[in-house]
């Protein structure tokens, strides 16, 4: 549209090869590799402003925030393992889970503070309590949860104040599931299409992923004799994670597309393979005396859960960067309302 066409018989189409796209077909052209799944929805025509995104993309650093989602899940589900281990007399499993929870939540808090534009002001998070802000709710949950995990781990290692330790373990197990699942609300409560549209299933995906990662850590570090619950948790978690992820993608329509393209696609395929393979190996490892298959299963589960969080994170960013995922579903919504 920006080719020159000044007047009658004057300059015409002076720069024909330069096209500033407006109106129809202005969407960013997407590369499509030969491999991979086909898009679920046919290409829809839509208008945009020079292909520019409608949304401002998240400013969060992937390593900090996707890493935080992962470590929060690992910690939350580990606290459940720790409580279960305490109740069923599996001290070695309990210690692994408590140390894992304490370590993971400490690291994740560091990542959260590091991601702030003004880290020195991190305490402003506790200035108010806002139920409309998942980040505010999460900050308060974490400020209760983190000390409990640290107390549980410290009393376990030192062997002192056992009663306090049991209470802290129980408290951490109550808050742990909230830590593991609220992060899905944190992502969904945005205008980012591929995060928001999956808000019904994403908490279940994250719950499953948290379970597989905690089970992975236990398989890696706890003695095989006490790792039975971890093996079952790995299998159940993998089913929950992979199953609800499939349901989510099917229900999301066009906004599921970023999960199927580029880097998010590779990460999520790796997550599927590692989680499914790790869970299968974990179940099989019960039959052999060798510890190495269990350790390999644990490592695969930990890596798979991390790949899932990074895949979901990057898919959301990609969906915010392309106006198509903002405009087309909203257009369809308007059209449906007019009918």
């Amino acid at each position: 549209m920006s080719e020159s066409e000044v007047t009658r018989d004057g300059v015409r189409h002076a720069r024909p090869d330069r096209e500033a796209p407006t109106g129809v077909h202005a969407g960013r052209r997407r590369r499509r590799r030969g491999r991979g799944e086909q898009p679920m929805v046919p290409d829809a025509e839509f208008s945009s402003y020079y292909g520019k995104p409608v949304l401002n993309k998240p400013t969060w650093k992937p390593l900090d925030i996707a890493g935080y989602l992962y470590l929060g899940g690992l910690a939350g589900a580990s606290s459940l393992l720790a409580a279960g281990a305490g109740a069923t007399g599996r001290p070695a499993l309990g210690r692994t889970a408590k140390l894992g929870a304490a370590g993971a939540i400490t690291l994740s808090l560091a990542a959260l503070v590091h991601d702030l534009g003004r880290p020195a002001r991190f305490l402003n998070m506790l200035r108010v309590f806002k139920p409309t802000s998942p980040m505010s709710v999460g900050s308060w949950i974490l400020s209760g949860y983190a000390p409990l995990t640290l107390a549980a781990a410290a009393t376990d290692v030192t062997g002192r104040y056992r009663l306090v330790g049991s209470a802290a373990t129980a408290g951490a197990a109550v808050l742990g599931p909230a830590v593991a699942t609220y992060t899905a609300v944190l992502l969904s409560d945005t205008a980012v299409p591929s995060w928001h549209e999956g808000y019904r299933q994403l908490p279940f995906v994250f719950a499953g992923s948290a379970a597989t990662s905690a089970a992975g850590l236990a398989l890696l570090a706890a003695p095989a004799a006490q790792a039975g619950p971890a093996r079952r948790m790995a299998a159940l978690g993998a089913v929950l994670e992979l199953g609800s992820f499939q349901v989510m993608k099917r229900r999301m329509g066009l906004t599921a597309e970023p999960f199927e393209q580029g880097r998010p696609h590779r990460l999520l395929r790796a997550a599927e393979a590692l989680t499914a393979g790790g869970a299968a190996l974990a179940v099989l490892s019960a039959r052999v005396r060798d510890r190495r298959p269990a350790a390999a299963a644990g490592a695969a589960l930990l890596a798979g859960s991390a790949a899932l969080r990074f895949g979901v994170f990057h898919a959301g960013v990609a969906s915010a960067e392309d106006p198509r995922y903002t405009v087309v579903p909203q257009r369809e919504r308007l059209r449906a309302r007019e009918c």
Binding site: T59, G117, R127, K130, T132, P134, M135, L236
Partner: protein, 338 residues
């Protein structure tokens, strides 16, 4: 959503006639806002400059984009007003795009000057009143190009923060840095913002953003400092064509309805209001627009919805998932019968 299930409907979604009152101001002044009438925008960017000057907004990059006259690109931390330029091969009703005047004898016309109101001079852009089509206000706005030529139409629109009735940025802010003013606008308290960045992806319009070297987020304040002393915002003050109109929102909505009716009567059927309806997904914008094409052509979302509309449902699903996780863990410890 809702159907008033919570008994506190309109808290997160839906029409809210008294935003300032709902935010805790007992005797608030009327809600103030912008009506940006893009049909009279001339793309001078005076609003961009005035905004930068008044608010001391830093430079936002000096580059040539090739996007018509738009080198600003979009709203962000350092761009609180953004003039969009769209070139289209479509006639703009209301313009007389022809530049040739072969059929005009300039000397004859000059000799007639001032002798007859019905004979316009050669430079006149409006057709004589007797040639105007039905419905067009005679002598005010001329109709579609008479010979049906399709010429360039150049759309210009000054974009700004919408100051939503239900503002997602404000809802998700964990520190309380973003707040609702007594004028019903949404403002960041920069001494409190810790740069968590949550408001950035929450905004359905892509307005607020993080300033990289500063870490905090910034956006239009609707010149809160000027409003406080009874002055109009810098952009509206500087707008030479009154494309940006500032005033009480109720009054602006009436004015906008009248303007759309006027344009429709003149044959500009593309004219439509954007963001003025309190029934829309964000409960209506405090800054709304008159557009001449679909919103997405200007880079605006066609049907924005405040993300927190679904938040109660999100918490419910997360709670269910948390319970499932507990059940899953409990199931893992159940001893299988040997």
């Amino acid at each position: 959503m809702g159907e008033g299930a919570e008994g506190r409907e309109n808290l997160l979604y839906g029409p809210e006639p008294d935003v300032a009152g709902a935010a805790g101001y007992p005797d608030a002044p009327p809600r103030m806002g912008f009506f940006t009438d893009t049909s009279v925008c001339i793309g001078c960017k005076a609003c961009e400059v005035a905004c930068k000057e008044w608010n001391a907004v830093p430079e936002d990059g000096l580059l040539l984009t090739g996007m018509s006259y738009d080198n600003t690109q979009g709203l962000g931390a350092d761009t609180w007003r953004h003039v969009a330029f769209i070139e289209q091969r479509k006639p703009l009703a209301g313009q007389e795009p022809g530049v040739a005047h072969e059929d005009v004898d300039v000397f004859a016309a000059a000799s007639r000057l001032g002798t007859g109101a019905a004979s316009p001079g050669p430079g006149a852009t409006a057709p004589p009143p007797d040639r105007a089509p039905e419905g067009a206000p005679a002598g005010e706005i001329s109709p579609l190009s008479p010979d049906g030529r399709t010429e360039l139409r150049w759309l210009m629109a000054s974009d700004v923060c919408k100051h939503c009735t239900h503002a997602a940025c404000l809802d998700v802010c964990p520190t309380g840095s973003l707040f609702r003013t007594e004028f019903g606008t949404v403002v960041v308290q920069e001494d409190i913002c810790n740069g968590c960045g949550y408001c950035v992806p929450a905004c359905p319009y892509g307005v607020i953003d993080q300033r990289k070297d500063d870490g905090r987020v910034w956006k239009c304040t609707l010149c809160y400092d000027r409003l406080g002393v009874g002055m109009e915002p810098a952009c509206a003050k500087s707008c030479p064509t009154d494309s940006i109109q500032f005033g009480p929102l109720e009054e602006l909505r009436e004015r906008a309805q009248a303007r759309v009716a006027q344009l429709h009567a003149a044959g500009v059927t593309d004219a439509r209001l954007y963001g003025e309806s309190p029934e829309d997904g964000v409960g209506g914008d405090g800054a709304f627009f008159l557009l001449l094409d679909e919103p997405e052509v200007y880079g605006l979302p066609p049907d924005p919805v405040v993300t927190t509309r679904d938040l109660p449902d999100m918490w419910r699903h997360a709670a269910l998932a948390a319970v499932s996780l507990v059940a899953l863990a409990a199931g893992s410890f159940v001893r299988r019968p040997r």
